[in-house]
């Protein structure tokens, strides 16, 4: 997967894991919060994204960090791989560039008399 083909959802899923390993529902919640509610992936869709990201080597299954453990059954945690971190960073870079471009143009537009 190249950065260009990374979807908005891919980006947010990677982003959700950037602070450390997370389990599925936590990823889903993080995605929803961090996308200001615009993304709210249902289970099937979410895990297809995770599966694909695992397939390209951006995500791996991880050991649970003890402080984040929840009551109930044991969960699988997912974490970024070094490649995943790089990909996320590049995508963030690309987005920042794109955002800056947009702001610049909009700024020019709005500053017109």
């Amino acid at each position: 997967m190249t950065e260009a083909s990374m979807s908005n959802l891919d980006y947010h899923v990677l982003l959700a894991m950037a602070e450390g390993p997370r389990y599925g529902y936590a990823i889903r919640n993080a995605v929803e919060d961090e996308s200001s509610g615009t993304l709210s992936p249902r289970a099937g869709t979410l895990y297809r994204v995770i599966a694909r990201l695992m397939g390209v080597g951006f995500v791996r299954e991880a050991e649970a960090s003890t402080e984040e453990s929840h009551p109930g059954r044991p969960r699988k945690y997912y974490a970024l791989t070094p490649d995943g971190r790089i990909a996320l960073a590049r995508e963030a870079e690309r987005l920042r560039g794109a955002a800056a471009l947009a702001e610049e143009r909009l700024g020019r537009l709005t500053s017109r008399p």
């Binding site: 389990y23 599925g24 529902y25 889903r28 249902r42 289970a43 099937g44 869709t45 979410l46 895990y47 297809r48 994204v49 995770i50 599966a51 694909r52 695992m54 397939g55 059954r73 969960r75 699988k76």
Partner: protein, 889 residues
Amino acid sequence: MNGIARALVTLLPAPFRRAFEEEILDQIEREWAAARGRGRMAAWIYAASAVGDLLRTACMERIRPTWVPDETTTNEMRGGGERMMTWMRDLGLAARSLRRSPMFAVMVAGTLGLSIGANGAIFTVVNDVLLDPLPFSEPERLVHIEASAPGSDLPEEFGVSNEFFVEYAKLTDVFDGVARYNGYTATVRTADRTERAPLSSPSVSLFRTLGVEPILGRLPTEEDDGTAALLSHGAWIDWFGGDEAILGRSVEMVGQMRTVVGVMGPDFEFPFDGIVAWLPITIRPENVTPGRFGTVLVARLRPDVTIEMARERMDATALTLPELYGGSPNYARLIEQHRSVARPLEEELRGWVAQPLRVLLGALLIVLLVACANVTNLFLVRAERRRLDYSVRRAMGAGRVELARTQLAEVLLLAALSGAVAMLFAWLALPVLLSAAPQGVPGLDEVAIGSATLAFTFLLCATAAALCGLVPVLRAAASETGVLGGRTRGAVGRRSRGRDALVALQTALALVLLVGSGLLLRSFQELSGVDPGYETTDIFSFQIAVEDEPGMVDGFAFARFHMDFMDQLRALPGVERVGLVNNLPLEEAVQSARFRPDGERADEDGGPQLSMNYVGGDYFETMGIELLRGRVFTEDEGLENPGHVVISARAAELLWPGEDPLGRRLYWPQMETWETVVGVVEDVLQDDLRYEVSPMVYFPMVGRTATSWDLQSPAYVVRTNRAEVIAPEVRALAREAAPSAPMYRVFTMRELADDNLLSLSFTLLIMAAASGLALILGTVGLYGVLSYIVAERTREIGVRMALGAEGRSVQRMVVLRGVQVVVVGIVIGALTALAVTRTLGALLFGVSAVDTMTFVAVSLAIFLVGVLASYVPARRASSIDPVEALRAA
């Protein structure tokens, strides 16, 4: 929701499911709890979106898997649950592979779907009309009874006379009830409605014989003595709004007050659909006049009694009748010739519908076979193309079973697709079919697509899948890794021989169908070309029931009314001639009686059996019935009858062979009158275009006295070039002349003639469609096979041409190959057709079931189509560039 989710998760591909099932279920559980917290609406929306998400994931994951399993997971796939998953995967694979070749999928689903759907539609009709048991208790014990008298001049079969009924009813050792019945149209009058309605006057015993009970009130008894009436369910609702208070009320029917004692259930419409009421009558032996034939009977056999046993008893009983009832010497003679006729009631009621329906179902099943042959061919060609693919997969470790299963999944998927197309087509085609079907088919209005259609369609799909799919599945299972290196010539040859056989089969089946259609077409031509003795164009006909108009007291009054009304009709624009007839040809049966020609001894009451009709106005001129000798009736004879008759040519020949009939007299024993012949007219086909001409005696409209005969509402015939559109004007005129008289039985002669041909034309239409379809499928099949062979042999042909073979000889080679196959098919088909066209039997008219001309013409046509279908690929073969061919191969 969680249960649904657990079920849906099983649809996910196994590896993906293994990796994520728990997490997915966990997320759904939590989301579902959260959604429910937001209210019922939110919960529903969430549930829908979650279900959609899972289905979508299941599909997407199959089409573009994101989760590729490692070795360990594949090897684990063995258990019972996993088998299902394997199937799902195979179906997914098959769906993908079909998406890649949409033409193939469309061809297969289209060919099979249409032919299965057509079968489904006809089957629905067959099922609802023929296979539903008659709505009587133990209908298989009911028999229809008539009489025959081989060697007499009576029709092949005719109704019995009442003394037969009285005596048969005493045969309690063979019958559990005997009833007589009839059907006719007469006036029914309530306070607010007067109409001519279909009625029946059965014996009181009819209902118990058939084993039916009223839903309201009671059955009639002998004590009612001809005063009771039972309403049909339809009439009860339609005429009386389903009012239960109808019981005990009096209704005027056939000019008599009848007390309604019961209402029958909606299923009971006997002897025909749309009947309004039954007016049971009591037959008393002391009132029976022997020899009044024309009554049909229905009887219930006792259990364990066969039709044959019943017939023996009836034949023996009939022989005692002259002794018991007296009668003329002629009657005694007839009784000696008498043989009872008995057959299952079901056959009597449905037999005439059954034959065309069986023929059609047979024809469509043949089409399905042709379609299956075509689809098998498509599968074979596809399998051929995939041989390499299969070899690769075999080489990579796929088992035979696995390959066969993949192929089977494709077959099943296509069968399901075809089934869907078939149901859709049946659903669309059924209304069209029903609207084209002949009138009067019992139970036709209840025909509808139902579970039986579904089951039959499913059965056909399964059969078709088995027929078409067996070979490709076996072939997939037999895939070898060996073919990777190169192609084996022998195998190709063997396979194309298999396809040749299929094409020969298709040709044979198409020929059978085309011969069938050809024979029906010739029958139709023959029947359309029959000269009925009258014209069928530009004639409008109707009746009005004037018997309740004031002043209609006797025959003369009726005659005066009709004369006046004919004058008014003549004044309508575009009307050329107007006449009257008691029984319109093709519409109503005529009575018949024996007439004795003058010159024969009076003590013999013999003489030929002649049909009778009563005419007035310009009947003969209006109908275009040609006057051969003498004259037709004058207007005065219409009003006052001096005892003159007009006879038909056939009657003249029977009465006075080779003599001049004009001025001769004939004796009518029933009325004890002598009639003088004033004219001879052309013969007519009175009842049916298929029958022979009836010898006719035409009487003027009125009898000698005011009451000698009682012709209340004859049919008017109006010759006008506006026959199709004149009805409203006539109706307006009738309302003025006779305000309370209903106008009914409104037809054009054209309609009657077309209706007479309808059963045949309907069958012909469907047969033609079926055989056309078979021919197209067969042609496509032949073309496909030859094209494929040419493609296969491109290299060989290239070599031949490089070695100096001419284009023409290559063409000839390919065409010859096609022609060989077609000729084999034609021979097989012709032999098969010889055996099966017999089933058309009574549908044929004026043409033999083994008509040489039809056989030759159809064979020739198929041969030509075969040559054409071969020629196109042959042209392609001869234009092969040797260099290109060798390089490509």
